[in-house]
């Protein structure tokens, strides 16, 4: 009943400019079937947690029991992997009633179509876990944390919302914190503030990438930022 990863194998890299066949205006009821029964209008169904590049869905599955009232969505560009996550959510809903109703996955190119899905100030948590480092200078433009895209992430996050980044590549971590700190709408959280957050323990070990890093005894660099109102 649970999907087996070996049938959903996909290459790690995917064309970041691909935009051919993505649906871009959304009916959220397709993703959260238990809410479809009652006639909820779109504005009621507010997704608050977004995992950009959710991979095989580890984070979504781990935080669903911790945040039973919040809707969470994962954005994944690889076709097979997003199918896997959808199957996994379906299987989990059958096995444990009522716990995994509020998570799902969308297959989309989040670098191009992120603002299509979310209204201004809708999100309270945005996750970028182990993003692709794209080491070569010529490929830096494909990194998911970028000057141009940070404005879009700031648009979708509400004031006080949190942006989480974690990676095992130190160069990437300093790049991301440089870019985000240079943006006046984000402020870095200190380590004391991070300790009290219930989501943080799941970030380094809750995902497939995270467990792989731990197994190889690598270091992870966690940085959290808060959305603040910028200068007008």
């Amino acid at each position: 009943m649970f999907p087996r990863k070996k049938f959903y194998r996909a290459r790690a890299h995917c064309n970041p400019l691909s935009d051919a066949r993505f649906s871009v205006k959304y009916d959220w009821r397709n993703h959260y079937p238990s809410t479809g029964g009652s006639s909820r209008i779109l504005s009621d169904l507010q997704v608050e947690f977004v995992d950009v590049g959710c991979g095989f869905g580890g984070l979504l599955v781990n935080i669903a029991p911790v945040f039973p009232e919040h809707f969470a969505i994962g954005l994944e560009i690889r076709d097979k992997v997003s199918q896997y996550v959808k199957e996994r959510c379906k299987a989990l809903r059958k096995r444990h009633k009522g716990v995994y109703e509020k998570i799902s996955c969308i297959r989309t190119n989040s670098m191009k179509f992120f603002p299509n899905y979310f209204r201004k100030g809708q999100l309270s948590k945005l996750f970028f876990l182990f993003p692709d480092p794209h080491f070569k200078t010529a490929n830096h433009r494909r990194r998911v944390i970028q000057r141009t895209l940070l404005a879009e992430y700031a648009y979708a996050l509400r004031i006080g919302g949190l942006l989480y980044t974690i990676t095992d590549v130190e160069g990437l971590s300093s790049w991301m914190s440089d870019k985000i700190s240079a943006h006046p709408c984000f402020q870095q959280l200190s380590s004391e503030e991070i300790k009290t957050d219930p989501v943080v323990p799941y970030l380094s070990t809750g995902t497939e990438e995270g467990t792989k890093v731990k197994r190889n005894q690598g270091n992870t660099y966690l940085k959290v930022f808060r959305r603040v109102p910028g200068p007008t």
Binding site: K25, N30, N116, K120, A138, R147, T148, P231
Partner: protein, 543 residues
Amino acid sequence: ARASGRIAAFTGWWAPTRHRRTPRMAKGKSKRKHKDGPSGAEGGAGPSADYEGPGESWGGEHMNQAPAPLMAMHPSGEHIAVAYGKGIAVFDASTGAQIPLRAAAKVPSIGEGVAHTPASPEMRAPLEPDGLWHADAIRAIAFDPTGRFLATAADDKAVRLFARTPDAYECVRRWHDRKKPTALAYDDEGTHLMISNKYGDVHVVLTDREPNDPVGTDHEHGALREVDHPAFLLGHCCAVVTDLVCPRGSNLLVTADRDHKLRASNLPTTVPLIHGSWDIQSFLFGHLAFVSCATAVPEPDDDEDEGEGAANGDRKPKKIERLASGGGDGAVRLFRLDDGEELASAQLSTPVDPPSHEELEAIVTGQAPRIPVNAPAVTSVDAHPSGAAVVAAVEGAPEAVLMRADSLRVVAKIPVPVVGDDVEVTCVRFDRPSGRRLWVAGTFGEDATPFFRCARVGSSDEEASEVVRDGQDGASAITDPADDVVASKMCDAMAPHAPGNSSRMVSKGTALRKKQYDNVAEIAERKKLRRDVTKGKRTADGA
């Protein structure tokens, strides 16, 4: 020879290579040059290794975008600037006399790869080798709202700024960028010029400053730095920005892109604009294909005493809140800027493969993937200064479509009086500041000869809205012989700039339209074959 034990497993040595056989080095291009420069994610486009020179385009010759006749109206109504191909000229709107363009005494060119020593030829030769201002097709021209400057941007990646002097326009600045510019816009005071390019970035430059005059501190490094070169303002990630609009009084910059959307970003007022625009006000969704052009729609005045207010400039213009845009889906849409709500739309041309009602439902609700709706694209859109009407031109139709600004209901289709086949209207503009005349520019014939025509629409706001209200189909435009004189002078000035090999060139709409690949089945077949081959080998080796 390779280790003998592994020869059996070594399969591809003499197989035909699938990658390119001539390495890039053979072409004589050095890759080392740009290795440590900006990488393309820091708000500047990365190195463009593929640009061979003017006239060449990545994607081969079949994607050469044809030059289009463009017009810009001076805000006082005295001058009209026209451009076609590499040529540009400024005319007096009433007499048709040409206003000269000349170089300023010293024309510094600050930008990538240009030597700054006074003896360098760049500093001393402001004109291109053949006496023109640009080496490739001009893509945008604009006057600033205060009337002091004229800016031009062309495919040779140069943007020039001309300052108005009592008897001429002098070219005072020139900037080079790494990517081709697509559109220009000024802020309300005319102090900043915004330039968008094909990479998706929008840069901002200061217009009224002496070059090499440092301005303020750079907040990233905390030190004085020269801000001559274009500073990064904002960007659309990897999407061509097709048009830029800065609606008066709104502190917004609207960017239209190829991914079916427009974005209204807040321009900061408390910190210098050259430090970037970080805050997005709204996204305007609704187009079903690329957005090709956009224009701000002024709010109609509801003052009773028209006579007093109209004459002088004391009256402060109302803040602009609406925007009309045209796209590759053949529709013009009206949006509210605050929240991105689509207020009205007008379908001006029929889509090639229109989705059926069920398909459209499925696309809108998200069950079916969105395939762009292809229709003859809207090439140009402009709003009447009174805010009563919007005019648009569509690919392939030799007419200008007039619509009411509040509902976008089509009230008149004014045919363009041009004799010839293959008439393409590329630019429609209302006169400023009164909007009495409607100017239309385009090309006809297989040589892409340019034409300019002018029609009278009404001498005051009331008349303009009357034309809009009456709206008889097939109403012919009222022409004035004085305007025809000016128009014919424009045609004469721009005719020599027609491109030589226009047969290979494509229109703007075709260049923006993305090719649809439907090779999923093919790929699956090939993959299946590959798997079978591998399976065979494995069992043969006795694994």
